[in-house]
């Protein structure tokens, strides 16, 4: 339906006379505050599998490390290996505990 002159006149009249909403700088914030909490996405079976594999690798790593230790000599590589294994194990366990308490897995 094409707009004729009367349509243009009515449109002009209404736009001039009826109120504009104006920009409300808080409106977006109000909307975002009312949105539901973000859902943590469940990654299904992949995440538990990865954690289990990580734990297994850590366990094997600790086993190899302890077997490779010399009784009376501590080498630099032993200290480095110990450090890496400790940090990795700690991070892995921390992630598992966090996700278990949050309920993701």
């Amino acid at each position: 339906m094409k707009r004729d002159e009367i349509d243009i006149e009515i449109s002009r009249m209404l736009k001039q006379s009826l109120p504009e909403a104006g920009h409300d700088k808080w409106f977006t914030r109000k909307v975002l505050n009312r949105l539901p909490d973000k859902q943590k996405h469940s990654r299904g079976w992949i995440e538990p599998c990865l954690y289990f594999t990580g734990l297994l690798v850590c366990f094997i790593g600790w086993g190899l490390f302890l077997c490779s230790l010399s009784p009376n000599v501590i080498l630099v590589k032993d200290i480095v290996s110990f450090g890496i294994l400790t940090v990795t194990t700690f991070l892995l366990i921390w992630n598992i505990v966090e996700n278990v308490f949050v309920g993701d897995i």
Partner: protein
């Protein structure tokens, strides 16, 4: 004003990663139009129109995965806004709809006789029925073409033209009275 590509990018971010900042940008872009739409439907009630507008965006967020991209996001948003207004009216008046689900044509008071020149456009708009008012606002204020109004309201094109014609006639009478 967001381009179509920017809009698609923001929508993709909302759907895929629940990016609230992206949704915030969409809200920021369309808040003026949606709030104005409700402001004119509610006869200038800022509090009510803001509340309805907020509900519209919240519903849009909750159903964003249902947006298929067949129409522009703005048209979809106006569809939600229209439904939101419809729900508000039903709660307010408990008005039954006809078989096709349309609001009844309200009796309009003809105040044109002995009217003083001070009748403003707001009062003129009030003379229209709900359906006429919605169609007039969408067509003349929001510059929506008939095809989009059909998508927004779900009314057949013939019905929209009929409402538009009747509403225009009533407004035309008021314009003549003001002259």
């Amino acid at each position: 004003m967001l381009s179509k590509i920017d809009e698609i990018k923001l929508l993709a971010q909302c759907v895929l990663t629940d990016n609230r900042d992206a949704f915030g940008r969409l809200v920021e872009n369309y808040q003026g139009e949606i709030r104005r739409f409700f402001l004119n439907l509610t006869f200038g009630d800022h509090a009510l129109s803001d509340d309805l507008a907020q509900e519209t965006f919240i519903k849009a967020y909750l159903n964003i995965r249902g947006f298929k991209g067949l129409s522009r996001f703005k048209t979809w948003l106006f569809r939600i806004a229209y439904n939101e207004y419809y729900s508000h009216l039903r709660k307010l008046h408990e008005v039954p709809t006809d078989e096709q689900g349309y609001l009844p044509e309200c009796e309009t008071v003809d105040n044109f006789h002995g009217i003083d020149a001070g009748i403003d456009v707001h009062k003129a708009i009030r003379q229209l029925s709900e359906n006429e008012r919605i169609v007039i606002i969408l067509f003349y204020l929001e510059d929506q073409p008939l095809k989009k109004i059909k998508e927004i309201t779900g009314m057949p094109e013939g019905t929209i033209k009929s409402h538009l014609s009747r509403g225009k006639e009533k407004l035309g009478r008021i314009l003549k009275t003001l002259d």
